[in-house]
Structures are given as structure tokens and as C-alpha cells.
């Protein structure tokens, strides 16, 4: 009796091993099925290399406020106020036709299919809150240098929860990794947690 009770945890563990192996093997397939059921996949199609500094930004995306900078539009609903924000961004960062994005004349799948789709499919959309903007032909606040918004390569998300100058994040921290994994830099690096930009060194 005593020997059987001492070996039973070991036996149980051994019995559970095949079950764990099956679960581990099936988990990615179930996840893939779940994503595919929504008709979405992460294409990673035709991303431009993330530029560093002003010269590379201009070489890759053109002059500030050029027509390509505001060529693509996408809706992004905020979870807190029920409002759907529509904003524009650069042609090279999205608008390519996929299962969930119509052909908008874009060159890649970055923002509207891959980043947005990833956030939806990771069930993180509840963290994207009010105040969502993209292209804007303006300079950086407090300076006369062009903002990355002027190239349509920057997005502000959850602006009402993540004010500029705040060196920590309350909601955007939950999905910032998705942007980072798709070539974007998070503005928390310079105390602007609402801000994501497709550029470094600027």
C-alpha cells in the first residue's frame, strides 16, 4: 500500500506525459485554425526596411506631406468610447489586398493587415482606446522639425490614456510588441507612449 502510494505520483506523471505531448502538438494547430477561421493570416508582404534618420526616411517614403503619405485609409475602433477612428497612412505600409483587406492600391500588408490583424487575433483590441490618428502634415510639438506623422509612418493609439510626456504605459504596453515585431518603434522610448512610428533615429 505504502509503496503504491509513493509511486503513484510518478505513474500519474508518466500517464500525463502523452496527454501533455498531444496538447502541445495540437495547440499550434488549434491556434492556427482559430486564426484561419477568421480569414486572417500574417503575410509580412513587402515591408520596406525601417529607416534610420531623416535622410533615410525621405529616401524611402518621400518628402513630408507627399501624396503617398496619406494614400491609404483604415478604420480602427476604440474600445472605450465606441468610436471608429479613420486615419490615413503611407502607401508602402499597407493597403495590399489580403483575405481581410480590400485592394486599396497599397504596396505591403504591414499596418492594416498584419499589425491590426495580429492585435485582433491576439484578443488585444480591448486595449486600443480613444484617440487614434495617423497622417498629419504638421511639425513636432514645440519644435519646427517635421513629425513622422507628416510622412504617414506614425500612428497614435489610446491618446487619451497615454499622454505625451508620460514615461510609462497603461494600455499600449499590452500590444506594443506587435508593432515592434513588424518593424515599428514605440514612442515610450522617448516618453510618448501613444506614438508608434516606422522609423528609428528621428
Amino acid at each position: 500500500m505504502g509503496s503504491s502510494s509513493s509511486s503513484s505520483p510518478g505513474r500519474r506523471r508518466r500517464r500525463l506525459l502523452p496527454l501533455a505531448a498531444v496538447v502541445l502538438a495540437l495547440a499550434p494547430l488549434l491556434l492556427a485554425y482559430h486564426w484561419a477561421r477568421l480569414g486572417w493570416r500574417d503575410w509580412h508582404y513587402n515591408y520596406p526596411a525601417t529607416p534610420t534618420g531623416y535622410t533615410q526616411i525621405v529616401n524611402r517614403f518621400g518628402e513630408p506631406c507627399n501624396s503617398n503619405a496619406s494614400a491609404i485609409e483604415m478604420p480602427w475602433p476604440a474600445s472605450d468610447n465606441g468610436m471608429t477612428y479613420k486615419f490615413r497612412f503611407h502607401r508602402k505600409l499597407g493597403g495590399y489586398p489580403t483575405e481581410v483587406v480590400p485592394n486599396k492600391g497599397g504596396r505591403s500588408t504591414n499596418l492594416d493587415n498584419d499589425v491590426y490583424g495580429h492585435i485582433q487575433n491576439d484578443h488585444l483590441s480591448s486595449y486600443t482606446k480613444s484617440g487614434i490618428w495617423g497622417y498629419f502634415c504638421r511639425t513636432i510639438s514645440g519644435s519646427s522639425s517635421w513629425s513622422t506623422h507628416a510622412w504617414g509612418i506614425a500612428v497614435d493609439i489610446s491618446a487619451s490614456y497615454e499622454p505625451m510626456g508620460q514615461c510609462y504605459s497603461t494600455v499600449n504596453k499590452n500590444f506594443a510588441y506587435v508593432f515592434k515585431n513588424h518593424g515599428w518603434r514605440w514612442g515610450l522610448d522617448f516618453c510618448d507612449p501613444m506614438h508608434f512610428q516606422y522609423a528609428f533615429g528621428y
Binding site: P64, C65, I140, S141, D192, H195
Partner: protein
Amino acid sequence: MRRNIAGAALVVGIALVIGAFALVGDAAPGPQPPSVGPTVPQDTGAGELLVVVLGGVYPSRAEAEAANTALDFADVQGYYVVPVAQFQGLQEEVGAPGDFALVSAFRTEQGAQEFAAFAQSLGNPATILPNRVRSLGGMYAGLGQEAAPDGSGPLLRPIPESLP
């Protein structure tokens, strides 16, 4: 005895490793300052007829500056504090007493409309004045921060609509 020697060697080894890390840490470069690109020229549009988006009128510069600081404009530039007398016709257009105004000036209607929509979406006051006003020069009020109608980049020159 051997244990003591081994212990001492371990302590020295750890100290050396910490020292090496500290040296490397000292030598590591600091954060790179952001590169500075071309800035927006301080274009006052002197003599041009401009579309003005008004954020408010205040009796003194200090009050106007304080009100401007309190407005939330995310990480993009907002209004500029200018004397009301800087624009011919502005006093009549604003219809309120005050010597200083929060404005953003544009050459195109579209630029003004986009800015007003953005300001309002942030909960900030923004009124597009119904008639163009003539710039008499003076302080910078935001010209150059709108897209050129042909999509070539920022609008940095007069257009037919802004010329008297």
C-alpha cells in the same frame, strides 16, 4: 587552507568580473540624440490672404500662452499665439475683444478643415473663420504645415487663392 585559497580566488574572480562589466558599461555609448532634419521655414505669408483657424482670443499674451499650453495636441504642433493686429480683418472676424489670439493659418481650405477636424477630435476649440484675412507679416502662425494640392509635399509657397 586550500578551501581558503579557493574562496579567495572566487571572491577575486567575482570582483574582476564585476569590474570588467563596470568598465564595459562605462565605455558603452549613451543614447543617440534624434537626427535633426530640415525644419519648417518661418513663413509669415506677408501680404497673402489666409484661412485662419481660431482657438480663442485673450486680453494678454500671458493668458493666451497659458491657454495654449493647456490644450492637448498629442505630439503634433497646435496653435500659435499671435497679436490680433497681425492679420488685417481678424479683429472683425473673431467678433470678440482681446489683443492676442490662438490661431493656425493655412493657404488652402482643405488644410484648415483637416486641422480643425483634428483639433475638435481632441476636444479643442477650433473655428474656421468664414473669410480670409490678410497677413501683415510678424509672427509665425503655422504656414507650411499643410499638404500642397498637387501632393508634392508641404505647401511652402503662395497659391492663386491666397494672392490678393
